[in-house]
Symmetry: C2
Subunit: 476 residues, 2 copies
């Protein structure tokens, strides 16, 4: 353990997230195996380091010279990825120690999650690694992604770089959520399938991510917490710098029963976890995809000073978004009479009497929405805005497109000009031109959500984080 | 009114949903106007009837002879679509009456939703139409879709035929939800943007849909109910034949405030609506897209006899799905010891001890999942199954594909063989072959959902509908 104590968690994790050289122990010519895919996926995403195959039974792997052991590689190795069968993992780890490898990811399953025998094998691997100064991800991990060096060691392809980091205690579900979030347009700095967390656990990853400049919001999928009090302490410090949004599997009796067989972790009482979140300032979600929706807004929008929101949109969308906001405890202040008068001046004549939410009643003039947004952003009793990507109309003349760009910029600069968040709720994407508006919003890092409820949850996330920061005595 | 009394609601609505001839009053050469698009969208979806343009200022519309008035058309007219400016609508309706037009859709806005003057104009139109025997959709409608004749009179393109019908009191949000649901793969029999409901209201549409053979599940977006007791009475009768799933806008104070200016309807107390749903047997949802997810399962899966569900999947997915089911009040019975023994025989050796949910632990054998599903489907204390589309693996040999087809069929025939519903929760779509499995499931009308919570809600919808049917004394 001596070697480990000398280095901080951040120093221990850097070789894992920013390796210049990677050894794949258990490299394979079979794409059906992790040790085969590990030679293609990193290339696809543009990893610039060197990947060395280790396999005693092959001369070459995918045309690259293979080495019988990690010890035979004529280069320093930052990261070892281990995917040999479980009984061979202790020996592989011993060789990594001898070689002076700096960190490892163990993909191999068949450890503590399978029972007593596996637990003993896992303890042996931990002992060898820690005595040799190596911390590792897993075992029973589905891999990781690091945008810093564009290293994709997942079962999937094509992660997108971005400001969210995701630590998942579930491999398959974590991978699926990562993919689903990617398909929603969210980009990631780090993704770690933490597996059995025998060496590195969620607390270690949090410490690393706190100082990671690429990470602006953190998502956790948790089933059980091993070091409860350290978790609260670490998370509380992280939250001063960046938000954490968590989903916990096993909050019901049957769900909890399922976690036991899954990650060998006791889900523990849900009340305890709830209290830990409150104490640490973690924002908790109750559906698996929600944390990503919140993180997307948290990563790119300013933290609001209060919970007072205004909504700009069309009829039913205003109604449903208002309902969703109110259900989440956000306030929709009614406007003062002067503001109502000013809104009436910029709204079309057929629009209803202005109230919060503001129904712009499908205006013909593309400048209506930005004028309304400007009036509302300037109000000292409004902390954030939910708006739609405006209906552009069917007539896309050059003049109209020019107005459109001005319009977009007036809205998308509100966060910088007023320090107030703006999130967008999608509307009728098949209207010609609306895709264009939405693209312009997206380019300006205004998050766009498909439904009123998603946009309301995103605003809730922002306002809840503001509240947490105020409770911690931090400025917004 | 005499003429109206003679015909049932179904007879009054048939010309609207199944017209052989359509007159577009307010036809236009401008695609930016509804009266312009109405000549293209129906063609795109394959409408076989005849569409006549009416416009006194044009000789031709899009190359088709235009008529100064509906009275000049040398053909019987089933449906008139009216999109002239509001003050001209009474005259247009008078001409429709003289012509003997059988039904109408009024797209034009500027009626009761704008205040007292508009309300009077609306009443005049209703008087003229009803005295002349015409019922109509709207005014302030965003149009409709009917799969029976493939008639698309919406602002959007490309609806997909299918078993769901959707009545929306909101135009823009309704259209957007229709589009979002379509993008999720859901098909529609009818969609009506019911607008101000001056002539036809949700009760009338429900009566029609009850006997409509193309409709197997009904979705409602409601802001206010005009005829409360008739609504409960009609809905209760409809629910004996097919399920109704509803979202109500305006359930909070601010949301309710917004409905007033939107559809000129008082949202009314939420408790009253909740009680009405309970009494009528309507399944209520609290997010705008949820009713469609439920309807998709309700339209294609058998109604279960109880609320006892089993889940087949992988680790975290099992945990999250179990949590979601339990939160919705579904039961996950623990298996008897004989079942556990039989499951152990078919599960891979490394799988955890079988419990409900069943973690299949990424089996190599593609027949594992169907064998597990078969054992569970046969249990008399299991009423429905949530499963994943199985991981196929990277090795797609001909033998493997053959197994895959057998596998798929064993699972997809469970609804017919056991009368128990099966819904699917998506997993890692980028795994090669998994798209294939999902396609095979979809083709067999097993609904596939992106997240554990969506699949749990779908199963809740099925089980809640079973409960409602039992309460109404209907067989499942």
């Amino acid at each position: 353990m001596a070697k480990l104590v000398e280095r901080s968690v951040v120093e221990q994790l850097r070789p894992i997230f920013e390796p210049k050289t990677v050894a794949v122990i258990g490299a394979s010519n079979d794409l059906a195996k992790f040790g085969g895919r590990a030679f293609f996926l990193p290339l696809e995403t543009g990893y610039k380091g060197t990947i060395y195959p280790v396999n005693p039974n092959r001369e070459q792997i995918w045309g690259v010279k293979a080495y019988p052991s990690v010890l035979d590689i004529p280069d320093d190795i930052d990261l070892a990825v281990i995917s040999v069968v479980a009984p061979l993992v202790p020996e592989a780890m011993e060789e990594c120690v001898k070689k002076g490898v700096k960190g490892a990811v163990i993909i191999t399953a068949g450890f503590a999650e399978t029972g007593e025998e596996g637990r003993k094998l896992q303890e042996e691997v931990v002992r060898i690694a820690h005595e040799g100064g190596i911390r590792f991800v897993g075992p029973n991990s589905n891999g990781m992604w690091s945008s810093r060096v564009k290293l994709n060691l997942l079962f999937l392809s094509a992660p997108m770089p971005g400001p969210i980091s995701f630590i998942s205690q579930s491999g398959t579900l974590g991978g699926f959520l990562f993919e689903l979030a990617t398909s929603k347009g969210y980009g990631f700095s780090k993704f770690v399938s933490s597996g059995n967390q025998a060496s590195l656990n969620v607390c270690d990853y949090l410490e690393y991510l706190a100082q990671d400049e690429d990470t602006r919001a953190i998502v956790l999928y948790i089933e059980g917490i091993a070091e409860g009090s350290r978790f609260v302490q670490v998370a509380r410090e992280v939250v001063r710098r960046k938000p954490i949004v968590a989903y916990k599997g096993g909050r019901t009796a049957v769900g909890s029963r399922a976690t036991l067989s899954h990650t060998a972790s006791l889900a523990g009482s849900d009340e305890v976890f709830e209290a830990a979140c409150k104490q640490a300032g973690i924002i908790r979600c109750y559906e698996v995809i929600h944390p990503f929706d919140l993180a997307e807004a948290l990563a790119c929008q300013p933290v609001p000073k209060g919970k007072r929101v205004t909504i700009i949109g069309s009829g039913g969308q205003c109604v449903a978004t208002a309902d969703a906001c109110a259900s989440l405890g956000l306030e929709l202040p009614e406007f003062d009479s002067d503001t109502k008068r000013r809104l009436k001046e910029v709204l079309p004549p057929h629009a209803p009497v202005p109230t919060n939410p503001v129904d712009t009643a499908a205006p013909q003039d593309p400048m209506t929405l930005p004028r309304v947004a400007e009036i509302l952003a300037s109000l000292d009793y409004i902390d954030g805005i939910i708006t739609h990507a405006p209906f552009v109309g069917w007539d896309l003349s050059p003049q109209r497109i020019r107005e459109l760009l001005t319009e977009t910029e007036m809205v998308t600069t509100i966060p910088q000009r007023y320090g107030k968040p703006v999130v967008c709720v999608g509307v009728a994407m098949r209207f010609p031109g609306t895709n264009l508006t939405q693209d312009l919003y997206r380019r300006a890092r205004i998050p766009i959500y498909a439904t009123p409820e998603e946009s309301a949850r995103a605003m809730y996330g922002l306002m809840r984080y503001g509240e947490i920061r105020r409770q911690l005595g931090e400025s917004p």
